[in-house]
Subunit: 401 residues, 2 copies
């Protein structure tokens, strides 16, 4: 079965927005063995959308559209679908009531213009939007979703479940396994694992993400055992760089290991400025073991909140192994993590360049401090420092506890 | 003049790569007033590329292709263009010599397969590639570039200069102005501003971002004055919801106002768990006025680090107006911000549901506490709390200081 993705929105063509919706859609459709033949991005112009639908209809079985379901004058996707299908736009009383209730719930006055959000071509099926206003719709091989990613994520699973049942698609046609590495270059992973993929029908690729590089293996369910064997071999070759699989992330893995070893923790951040705490607090249920975070950006805060010695700051500087060490000593939980560095763009010197970061980790009375120099702009240096701190914590917890 | 962009490459459809080339191409073409009608992403399959070129040819004047110019078997872009134009593929001796020299220069042996990189449809013009191997080509309204971004960036200016001369295109640069709102629904903005856009040639749209909703106005430089007039009228209508323009963000605006009023600041976070500090520390140069952040996730930390009274926590709870108030009192800087709330997914009750957040702001000895109930998952509630805290701070600083 073949599909096309149509992204509607002038802003997607003039550089204002990077499209992530189509990546999500492709992944979801791939699970059911539906191939994406092509992706089209069009402006909010009736004729152009119409032509595009017509072109896709002649080439694929299923069209997924994203964008243009809102209430404003440039939201015309449903109108064009109706016209293409020779249907009129209708409003179902029940859907209108649900919409009005949503407006009451969020405390925004409902205006006539908003009725448009529940308009749909006569005969179209709707999928309930739990996180926004306009429902997704489906009619005659065309599904239309809002352009707002979280609304798409909310409704796409409902749609694809329904569609798979309707067309007897089996979900487990495709089997995907991700192995997640950190701290190793793509070319080195490639060199290490390339020879393992000699079997026909097992496809692999590398996906570079913020939290590491994924080795994604894709095949059919019948090859699952073979993938497991390859997985073992990959661990044998580059296991030291692997921190998880599939839905694992650095922070979920770190919290899982901390919880398993029944240790509470806290963090003291300088250059990462709350990003490490924020990332860890993103893990649901962390509150039972996370005690506190100190964003000790000024020297004053390092001294007062963490008991870093004034002498240490004077002699070695705020960005130093000694300071990172005293920062973790200042926190009284079982485990403590500290970061201190120069995120840039200013503040670098020859000895202490922009990108220099010290990461301190204390597990009870054992202290580890590592020095890194990260490349990139302010945001990049801070993100890399957070990822490195989490990866180092995972490694230490795996080995030493 | 209208153009289409065709991106060639199976990897662009399965989520392995995010496309940035088309954003660059769109910006360059916009400078000459060339509109992008649509963008198509296709797999490395001859028939599909052919069909796509055919579809574009029927709709636009200029096709820009990216990808598929390399030496390997899946690089078929030039072959398809030749076949579409009814030309044979040729190799010019001079271009072959240049290519061979490049191989000598980088010390890679030249193989027969590499000849393909200088093949082109008979009659096509080439543009020299200073940073890679395959030149870009142009024939009959179709230009083809490599998919590697730095090679595209190297040759696109050469192409567009030549093309603009050939077709007498003047650079009538596009003028874009963004007005950034917060805390007002898209439909209400639309209602307020719709009547202001009566002029021809001034196009507007709404872009929903994490940090607010943008009103984007787009026109040519010659209409700049008209946009300024409209901008003033927009401020008159919904000024209370506007916090900035163009590159402004909530955090940059907040830091700018704090710096202007010469006040230092610190934050105390519970539910946002470091995200507020991290967002503010993302602003370069903030270190002179940001003193510290306390992620007081546990009651213990609230008491010990911020001096919140145990009684307050016992009587009113950690998520309460009183606690938010005592949190900002516990920080000793000129300005202090606090958040305390229930981010979910667990921990909600009937009286204090998931999404309930108290935001405290202290400007010297004036304290403001606001109560909000945000919808969405854990990540969403935390992000909204951060944005709301920043927006409220901006409003207070604008009004009261």
């Amino acid at each position: 079965m073949k599909a096309a993705i149509i992204l509607v929105g002038t802003e997607l063509l003039n550089g204002a927005m990077v499209d992530t919706n189509s990546i999500y859609i492709a992944e979801q459709l791939n699970k059911y063995g539906i191939e994406i033949e092509f992706k089209l991005t069009v402006r909010d112009i009736k004729d152009e959308i119409y032509k595009t639908i017509d072109y896709c209809k002649k080439n694929v079985d299923l069209i997924i559209m994203s964008g243009g379901l809102g209430p404003t004058i440039d939201d015309i996707t449903k109108e064009v679908i109706a016209s293409y299908c020779g249907k009129k736009l209708i409003v179902e009383e029940e859907e209108l009531q649900i919409l009005k209730e949503k407006f009451v719930n969020v405390g925004i006055p409902f205006k006539n213009i908003n009725v448009k959000e529940v308009e749909k071509p006569e005969g179209a099926i709707s999928f309930r939007n739990d996180v926004g206003m306009a429902p997704a719709i489906y009619i005659n091989g065309i599904a239309a979703f809002p352009g707002v990613p979280r609304e798409l994520y909310n409704m796409f699973p409902k749609f694809i479940n329904w569609y798979a049942k309707e067309y007897d698609l089996l979900q487990d046609e495709i089997y995907i396994k991700d192995i997640i590495t950190y701290g190793i270059a793509e070319s080195l992973i490639d060199e290490a694992v390339r020879d393992l993929f000699t079997e026909n029908g097992i496809y692999y690729e590398f996906l570079v993400k913020d939290y590491g590089i994924l080795i994604r293996m894709q095949t059919t369910q019948s090859n699952k055992n073979k993938v497991e064997k390859i997985t073992k071999k990959i661990y044998n070759k580059i296991g030291e760089f692997i921190f998880g699989e599939d839905d694992d992330r650095l922070e979920t893995k770190a919290v899982e290991l901390l919880r398993r070893s029944q240790m509470n923790f806290s963090v003291a951040e300088s250059c990462t400025g709350g990003m490490l705490a924020s990332t860890l607090i993103g893990v649901p249920g962390v509150s039972d073991i996370f005690k506190e975070g100190i964003v000790s950006y000024s020297n004053e805060a390092k001294i007062k909140r963490l008991g870093v010695k004034k002498d240490t700051l004077d002699i070695y500087g705020a960005v130093s192994e000694q300071t990172a060490r005293e920062m973790v000593l200042g926190l009284k939980t079982d485990v403590a993590i500290s970061t201190t560095g120069i995120a840039g763009p200013d503040g670098g010197t020859k000895d202490k360049p922009v990108g220099l970061v010290y990461i301190g980790i204390r597990i009870k009375d054992k202290i580890y401090v590592e020095k890194r120099v990260f490349k990139g702009d302010r945001g990049r240096v801070r993100k890399k420092a957070v990822s490195q701190a989490l990866f180092s914590l995972i490694k230490i917890l795996n080995e030493d506890v």
